[in-house]
């Protein structure tokens, strides 16, 4: 299905980066989960990698305007999110799939995505079409009118992706989107990611290095709340040598970079 392009979408941007963080500090409880992060992301699919507790989810929540940064500067689509500014304009062009995806069990998939579209302040005339398109893109068309509580884990994940996509977001934040998807669905999802990355900034947090190798144009590696490395997927694959742990070139690159960073911090 085609969608008409509005004047707002082809207007030139007035900011250099879609997502721009400078010396960003974000708290998770009392702990500084993101600590002095510098990051600049443009259009494309960016894979966010890092060990457990690296601050991936906290960074995602700060970008999704759930938590306010405790320090530094964070700019999304040219709007500053650190001051007392109204985040509403940014939120309209945001899509977010949280790590723990909460839903209303008695809603059908369509009702849920529709409710989220309403919360995203989409004009009511475009909502039904946008909802149908989002559900088709994640391959849930035949379950669109089933209640959420009857869906399997992978289907729920896809319903979560559908609600994130429904407003054609310019910034799409997906926190572990491939959890619970079977291999075929994951391949379909990678195609979807590539398609989305053509004209929006997609940030995918994941533990699966292979997802990043196949679907992402660019990799962001975090460790203990700081940026360790940022570069293209091919460059990541070149970082590793035969001596590093891992089964693929990308995995070896990942462990080589982490190992080098840990050594640098300790030394």
């Amino acid at each position: 299905m085609m969608r008409a392009v509005s004047a707002a979408e082809i207007a030139p941007t007035t900011y250099p980066w879609t997502v721009h963080a400078e010396n960003l500090v974000v708290r998770a409880g009392r702990h500084l989960a993101v600590n002095g992060l510098d990051l600049a992301l443009g259009t494309g699919v960016h894979g966010l990698l890092g060990p457990n507790g690296a601050g991936k989810t906290t960074l995602m929540r700060a970008l999704a305007t759930v938590v306010k940064p405790a320090g530094g500067r964070l700019t999304l689509l040219g709007d500053d999110l650190t001051g007392r500014a109204d985040p509403r304009r940014v939120r309209r062009s945001l899509g977010y799939l949280p790590q723990h995806f909460g839903f209303y069990p008695r809603f059908t998939v369509r009702e849920f995505v529709e409710y989220m579209a309403w919360l995203k302040e989409m004009p009511s005339a475009v909502v039904p079409g946008a909802v149908q398109r989002a559900i088709e893109r994640v391959g849930l068309t035949d379950r669109a009118d089933s209640r959420m509580k009857t869906l399997s884990g992978g289907m729920l994940r896809r319903a979560g992706i559908a609600q994130a996509l429904v407003n054609d977001p310019q910034v799409l934040l997906l926190d572990e989107p491939t959890v619970g998807l079977d291999p075929e669905q994951r391949m379909g999802f990678r195609d979807l990611l590539r398609e989305l990355g053509m004209d929006s900034c997609v940030l995918v947090s994941t533990h699966l290095v292979e997802d990043v190798a196949v679907a992402c144009t660019d990799v962001v590696l975090l460790h203990e709340g700081r940026l360790v490395w940022q570069g293209s997927t091919a460059e990541l694959a070149r970082q590793g040598g035969a001596g590093n742990a891992g089964d693929s070139a990308t995995e070896r690159g990942y462990s080589a970079l982490l190992h080098a960073y840990r050594g640098q911090v300790a030394g």
Binding site: R91, L94, G102
Partner: protein
């Protein structure tokens, strides 16, 4: 787009004349999308064969729409979103008021329990309607442009639309003045929204309910007399407090943009 293409240009565009360059084609197309008058000119400019083809395509599409599945019915009530989760708390509030009525009619020597409990009756469902603990999609709600004071007020009004009739029945049954049960209930609701901007609406509502019970309800039951703040002439005071708290809520609207995010 104020200048319309000439009818000669539209007819050359319609027949696909070679002397119309690409840039002109795009400009004409962009104009036609937004100008019904020029589209009428276009329809007259095409040759009969094309018009016939377009007619057949339109008929085919109309047939397809008529025989295909109908549009999905939209259920607007779902908009309240958390209705299902708030229902038990609404039932609790209604049950509380019913118990108050029964007590008041049975034990005539006690101070009016309906008046003592009506200020806190809306607080439980209000707390449930705007809480991380009861709303499963809270994390998503916190990223939504519509999340903020207006959505909170919408949910609060939905709660009041149920609680106020219950209070009205209880008040009418026990013969209490409407100003003495309605105004304190509204004042406490507005108070929990105003305080909620700082500590979270659920904490504020429950805190106010506990404070009122400890400071007013328990001493009046122990002393067996109604406190002065619920006596007949006190309603102007409650009205002033309600209006003042509502003003605070509106002035501090920005407090509700960030939904007090905590640990997940």
């Amino acid at each position: 787009m104020t200048t319309h293409p000439t009818s000669a240009l539209i007819s050359r565009y319609a027949v696909g004349a070679a002397d119309v360059d690409d840039a002109t084609v795009w400009a004409v197309e962009a104009h036609l999308e937004s100008c019904a008058a020029c589209r009428t000119l276009l329809a007259d400019a095409v040759d009969p064969g094309t018009r016939d083809l377009l007619g057949r395509v339109a008929d085919g599409i109309a047939d397809g729409i008529a025989t295909g599945p109908g549009p999905v019915r939209r259920r607007r009530l779902r908009r309240t979103g958390v209705a299902a989760r708030v229902l038990p708390w609404l039932a609790t509030a209604a049950g509380l008021m019913l118990a108050a009525v029964v007590f008041e009619r049975t034990f005539e020597s006690l101070p009016s329990l309906v008046l003592l409990l009506s200020p806190v009756a809306p607080l439980l469902p209000v707390a449930a309607a705007w809480s991380r603990r009861t709303d499963p999609a809270w994390e998503l709600l916190a990223t939504m442009p519509r999340a903020g004071l207006w959505l909170l007020l919408r949910r609060t009004l939905a709660v009041l639309a149920v609680v106020v009739p219950v209070l009205a029945v209880a008040g009418w049954w026990t013969g209490q003045s409407p100003a003495l049960w309605l105004l304190p209930a509204l004042a406490f609701t507005a108070g929990s929204l105003a305080l909620g901007g700082l500590v979270g609406v659920d904490v504020a509502a429950l805190g106010l309910a506990v404070a009122w019970s400890a400071a007013v309800v328990a001493p009046s039951l122990a002393g067996r007399r109604l406190p002065a703040i619920l006596a007949g002439g006190s309603w102007p005071g409650w009205a002033v407090i309600t209006v003042a708290l509502l003003a605070v809520v509106l002035v501090r609207a920005a407090d509700h943009r960030h939904l007090g995010a905590g640990r997940t």
